[in-house]
Subunit: 202 residues, 2 copies
């Protein structure tokens, strides 16, 4: 069980690396195999094909991300607003690495496949929605305390944070550097401070 899973995991890890760098359509099965140190025979033993791999890679990516965020130290903060702001700060801190290491596989793949590969699109949709949902409880609690009569819903604000993150990645890729993404997250933080009556430092 461990050996087989290790190979499958190696292929999935390789898929993350390559697809995040070149996109889904431009990555070849051969390249993933080479990057994983395996051959095509092994690949097609574990996956039905490239599309099946993409769906599995989306899940793999989501599990990895979920591990990172749910174990992050800021999760222990007692106040929901603090946790929310710390989430943004945490995302910002991640931007130090290389572009393919901090950008989102789901956003990358869905842009290419939303009309042509429904199964990939649905996988990306689901995992993005799940990550957004993991913010809803904190947002709902923060709203109850600081903006109970506001018209927006916690769900829409959670999705908005994801839109900012995805858009920040697009701009970072365009500018070939993470700085612009950091500034975007700064604006997102300011918005949250304003919504929840934090007298930001101006």
């Amino acid at each position: 069980m461990s050996a087989q899973h290790e190979s499958k995991t190696r292929l999935l890890d390789a898929a993350l690396r390559v697809i995040r760098t070149k996109g889904y359509e431009a990555t070849t099965v051969d390249e993933i195999c080479e990057s994983a140190g395996l051959t095509k025979g092994s690949f097609f033993h574990h996956f039905d094909g490239k599309e099946d791999l993409a769906v599995a890679a989306a899940k793999h990516f989501a599990q990895m991300a979920d591990g990172v965020f749910s174990n992050a130290p800021y999760r222990k903060l007692p106040d929901p607003v603090e946790r929310l702001l710390a989430y943004v700060d945490f995302r910002r801190a991640i931007l130090k690495r290389e572009l393919p290491e901090f950008t989102c596989l789901l956003g990358t793949m869905v842009q290419e496949t939303y009309e042509t590969h429904p199964s990939i699109r649905k996988a990306c949709e689901r995992h993005i929605a799940e990550h957004a949902a993991s913010l809803v409880a904190d947002i709902a609690e923060a709203k109850r305390r600081h903006a109970p009569r506001a018209k927006w819903t916690p769900e829409s604000l959670a999705l908005y944070t994801q839109a900012v993150v995805q858009g920040a990645f697009v701009l970072a890729k365009a500018k070939h550097g993470p700085e612009v993404a950091g500034e975007c997250l700064g604006h997102l933080r300011r918005y949250l401070e304003l919504l929840f009556d934090r007298p930001g430092k101006e």
Copy 2:
């Protein structure tokens, strides 16, 4: 001059349609030719290759978008804050059409090509930056009037609006519908209202 340009324009228009639907790597030259009602001979007469086409398509898209925004009626509003909010509303109004008709060619292409096709990446970067720059004057004036001491720069806020737009498109593709994008633009509008001391309707 007109006949030749018409063919080239037909190819560029076709490229916009196809690439916005399937992404850059998945679109084939043959498909663009067919969609334009021309043949490969004509294609390679007008463009050096697929990459050259992508750069030209980025410019073509930017020119088209520039025409839409600079001629939009809201541009005549006297107050810079009003113009800025109306820009967001205008973007929201555009979301009625089909996904490939309102999403951004530049954001789509740059996600795929940022590491592999520097010339395309640079074209996307430039045209996104130019569009953002077209908002800076209004933002700067609004800031001078309503938030002169705020720490953020007009340039960073302009880029932030583009990040939200790009991110909204990514989510719209994931959910296969424009509604979520509209809600994201609603949050963006609220942020601008808060920054410029508009007492939003809550």
